[in-house]
């Protein structure tokens, strides 16, 4: 008799054990929500639009910041100003 045979034999015997009676009178059922999908969909669209807008602003701001802080751009504007 190996280890798994021990489990099988004890399992077969344990299946004959009584199942405790379950009283369902105390079962508390919370309210069920079936329309989650419908109420969530507009929120998902709003979130997607806000994310897209935020990404656009971030790209524009990054480019502007890059230009602003780039030393070559500063020199280029200074030369153009002195030549005009």
């Amino acid at each position: 008799m190996n280890e798994t045979d021990i489990l099988k034999k004890l399992g077969a015997a344990a299946r004959r054990a009584d199942v405790p009676d379950v009283d369902l009178t105390t079962l508390r059922l919370p309210p069920i929500e079936t329309d989650n999908e419908i109420t969530d969909r507009p929120l998902m669209w709003i979130a997607a639009c806000s994310t897209a807008a935020a990404a656009g602003v971030w790209i524009f701001a990054a480019q502007a910041w890059n230009q602003w802080t780039d030393p070559l751009t500063g020199i280029f504007y200074a030369i153009r100003w002195s030549m005009s």
Binding site: M1, N2, A13, R16, V19, P30
Partner: protein
């Protein structure tokens, strides 16, 4: 599962989704015993079996909108029962459990004629033996050898792949062998 009982289940599920709690209660009445039998594998105390059965039913009620009739309702409930039982084991594994049946006694009990083994004692012995293993090993050994499910059925119940079930079974059996070896019971 007959077509007739499947139709009764479907009618009750649709009524429950429409807000009729009594329809769900009649479903719960029909399936409370198979659920309690499954939860008995996870918990030894009758109070805990009772609580876990309630928890499975509440989880099933809340997840009812996601049931797609692809599998029989009982199979779907058993998957929920497995998830609830496994979470219970994981929680319990952090606590020190009281063991009353030594490994040697499990061996001696199993050596008896099947009909002469006391079912309650066998259940107690299995809980004590399984308590010594991590939840993943317990789960796979329970389904494969104690409940007698195939690799495919175990994969469906646990949500693991078939190869995962095979690997996990191999690891769990190795740990089980080590338990018996440590108790001085070298097996063939």
């Amino acid at each position: 599962m007959t077509e007739e009982s499947a139709a009764v289940d479907r009618a009750d599920i649709e009524a429950a989704l429409a807000g009729n709690k009594d329809a769900f209660r009649s479903l719960a009445e029909r399936y409370k015993n198979p659920i309690a039998r499954r939860m008995r594998r996870f918990a030894r105390e009758p109070d805990h079996v009772h609580e876990l059965t309630h928890e499975v039913l509440v989880q099933a009620y809340l997840s009812l909108p996601t049931y797609r009739y692809k599998a029989p309702f009982e199979h779907w409930l058993m998957k929920i029962a497995t998830a609830v039982g496994y979470a219970y084991w994981k929680k319990k594994s952090r606590e020190q459990s009281v063991r009353t049946v030594p490994v040697e006694e499990c061996y001696n009990l199993a050596a008896k004629e099947p009909e002469s083994i006391d079912p309650e004692r066998a259940s107690e012995a299995l809980h004590d033996l399984m308590d010594r293993l991590p939840p993943r090993d317990r789960l796979v050994l329970t389904f494969r050898y104690i409940e007698g499910h195939s690799v495919e059925e175990t994969a469906q119940l646990t949500g693991w792949s078939k190869s995962m079930v095979k690997v996990q079974t191999w690891r769990a059996v190795r740990k089980l062998k080590a338990l018996f070896r440590d108790a001085g019971l070298e097996q063939g």
